[in-house]
């Protein structure tokens, strides 16, 4: 009997140790792939990265390996992502405030959250096709404006949900205290929720920007591609993800190499945005009541 219990004891502990080991390995594989991605992008991108790449627009014959850079794509991407984020902000801030102050966990609030989550899940290629369908209906051509609008649609659910998650943690006492003093819900929203939301808004902006700058499939349809820096909202514009994509499909090795460098530039921008979001929200969190 004693022998039997001892044996079973050993076996389940063996299983425990084994499971713990493969769990650690799994986590390591996931984390390791991040390291691998960053390492590959840096190692392959760095050799062909030059000042010329980030400071000039493509010259004639650039796509056959001649001089120039991808400034058009860098500027274009910044325009697109900044415009999209700004437009999405105009809508997402009121929605997040409304969800917190007026809706809470009501039925309509749940519907709105669900629809935001569902919008989040719609792939960017479908947004792109939708944008394209709209553009042919309206007789519009690929332009910076169309790209900005579609990116705003893509970023809207991400930003709203990010703000919503942050503001949800606001202590209810704050709201109750204000309401008890006789303020209306609108005043609570304006004076208290907006201030408590500041870290959330910052995170949301940077999250939305990061998503917008990396999105290729939607921009492909709506913003087009050009070698010039756009001078008006109605002009088509280049973007970094597409610059990477197009250069990688080139038969010329020099051009492909520059595609890797463009990928490095894109990655660096996304990393900077991601880190500064973390840093800023940690700093701004000091000024909120918890």
């Amino acid at each position: 009997m004693g022998f039997l219990t001892k044996k079973r004891w050993q076996r389940r502990h063996l299983v425990e140790t084994f499971m713990k080991f493969i769990m650690r390995v799994s986590l390591f594989i996931v984390a390791g792939s991040l390291g691998l991605i960053l390492w590959i992008v840096v190692v392959r991108g760095l050799p062909s990265l030059s000042w010329e790449m980030v400071s000039q627009i493509p010259k004639g014959g650039y796509y056959m390996g001649k001089g120039g850079g991808i400034l058009n794509a860098i500027i274009g991407s910044l325009y697109l992502a900044a415009g999209g984020t700004l437009l999405a902000m105009i809508f997402s801030v009121p929605i997040a405030i409304y969800l917190k102050t007026y809706l809470g966990d009501s039925k309509w609030g749940q519907y709105v959250r669900l629809s935001l989550d569902v919008l989040w899940g719609i792939p960017s290629i479908v947004y792109g096709a939708f944008g394209f369908a709209l553009m042919i209906s309206l007789g519009m051509r690929a332009s910076l404006l169309a790209g900005i609008i579609i990116l705003a649609f893509i970023e809207l659910p991400i930003m709203t949900r990010a703000m919503d998650e942050v503001i949800r943690r606001m202590p209810e006492d704050l709201e109750h205290a204000a309401l008890a003093l006789g303020s209306t819900k609108f005043e609570v929203a304006l004076r208290i929720v907006t201030r408590q939301m500041l870290p959330g808004i910052t995170t949301a902006i940077l999250l939305g920007f990061g998503r917008g700058i990396g999105d290729a499939a939607s921009v492909l349809f709506t913003a087009g591609y050009t070698d010039r820096i756009p001078t008006s909202l109605m002009r088509p514009t280049a973007s970094l993800p597409l610059a990477v994509f197009f250069q990688l499909s080139s038969p010329y090795p020099e051009v492909r190499e520059r595609g890797y460098a463009a990928a490095l530039i894109l990655t660096v921008i996304v990393l900077v945005v991601s880190f500064s979001s973390r840093w800023l929200s940690a700093r701004l969190n000091k000024y909120t009541v918890k």
Partner: protein, 333 residues
């Protein structure tokens, strides 16, 4: 307007009882009402946007659906736009193969990693893992594509394909018919890494809905941690885990650029994980240029987007409903 004014004055009378009347109350209440209505209009946007996307795609793809019929489009095997033959079947199968391989690779890894983070890891470990997952989620698809092109495709071509061909070549789904490295397996590996952060964070949330009492009770009668997880926690969270997997699958279904770069893009009915495939999103993205020059081509591609949208909406709504319900249970307790 006069009616609503009177209700406000009633409200304000109630609020200012026992105090000198302050006329500003009704202005403030009116302001509140106005804000409520304006805000409400804003929340219509996300709800209506989903419908709007579906309707716009439907209208633009109606010409081809009415001309060919839905089943001919979906199950037609020939894709020759110049001959006006639009069969999505190879592309649908390509999408399913790539998604399945990606999910099959991602799920065990994500399940184990999320169990570790939720049940074993110290706070320090968690605060270390979260930024890594966030970063992984933040990396743009095209960078995943570059990584796939530079690492995964050669790895599949040089290592995995010969290995599988040697040991499992007789099994048809592991047979190497096109030894290029570009194919379903490469796309699946890239997708697995891309959907991992989402699946892990959803699973982690789901695990944290299990009340600690259950863990304590199980550990107190002498079960090991793994026994507790297998016998107590996993049965509790099974629907949520399934929902997380479905959510991950719906992400994988729509992934475009990264997949497009490594999958080979040959319109054929794949039979092995080493075959090239041509998923629907890649089809849409690759042909946007010629779309307007061939009749019905644009309608065909937009109907492909519509099919993708409908499948993803169903997947998303089902899994979100399950996840939201499970998370509410946590807040309720």
């Amino acid at each position: 307007m006069s009616q609503s004014n009177s209700t406000f004055s009633k409200q304000s009378n109630k609020q200012t009882e026992g105090r000198p009347p302050r006329p500003s109350v009704s202005t403030r209440a009116r302001q509140d009402q106005a804000a409520r209505r304006t805000f409400f209009v804003f929340t219509l946007l996300p709800v209506l946007l989903i419908l709007f996307i579906a309707i716009a795609l439907f209208i633009r793809s109606w010409p081809i659906i009415s001309a060919y019929g839905l089943s001919d489009l979906l199950f037609g095997e020939v894709w020759r736009p110049n001959n006006e033959q639009f069969g999505f079947w190879p592309f649908i199968l390509g999408t399913l193969w790539v998604t399945t391989v990606g999910v099959v690779l991602a799920v065990p890894l994500c399940l184990l990693a999320s169990i570790y983070l939720a049940e074993y890891a110290h706070v320090k470990m968690r605060s270390f893992a979260k930024p890594i997952l966030d970063l992984l989620a933040a990396i743009p698809p095209v960078v995943y594509g570059v990584w796939g092109l530079l690492t995964i495709v050669p790895f599949v071509d040089d290592v995995l394909a010969p290995l599988f061909d040697r040991w499992l070549g007789s099994v048809s789904i592991f047979k190497v018919n096109q030894p290029t490295g570009f194919g379903i397996l490469s796309a699946g590996i890239v997708l697995a890494v891309m959907i991992a952060p989402l699946i892990i964070s959803v699973m982690y949330e789901i695990f944290s809905t299990v009340p600690n009492d259950l863990r304590h009770a199980s550990l107190a009668v002498g079960a090991t941690r793994w026994q507790t997880i297998r016998n107590i926690i996993l049965p509790q969270v099974a629907p949520g885990i399934l929902a997380a997997i479905v959510l991950g699958a719906s992400r994988a279904l729509g992934e475009t650029i990264a997949v497009l770069m490594v999958v080979g893009n040959i319109p054929q009915v794949p039979t092995s994980i080493f075959d090239s495939a041509y998923p629907l999103p890649a089809l849409i993205a690759n042909n946007y240029g010629e779309m307007m020059s061939i009749p019905l081509y644009d309608a065909a591609l937009l109907s492909a987007a519509l099919v993708l949208l409908i499948v993803i909406l169903i997947f998303n709504i089902l899994s979100m409903l399950v996840i939201q319900r499970m998370l509410r249970r946590k807040w309720a307790s």
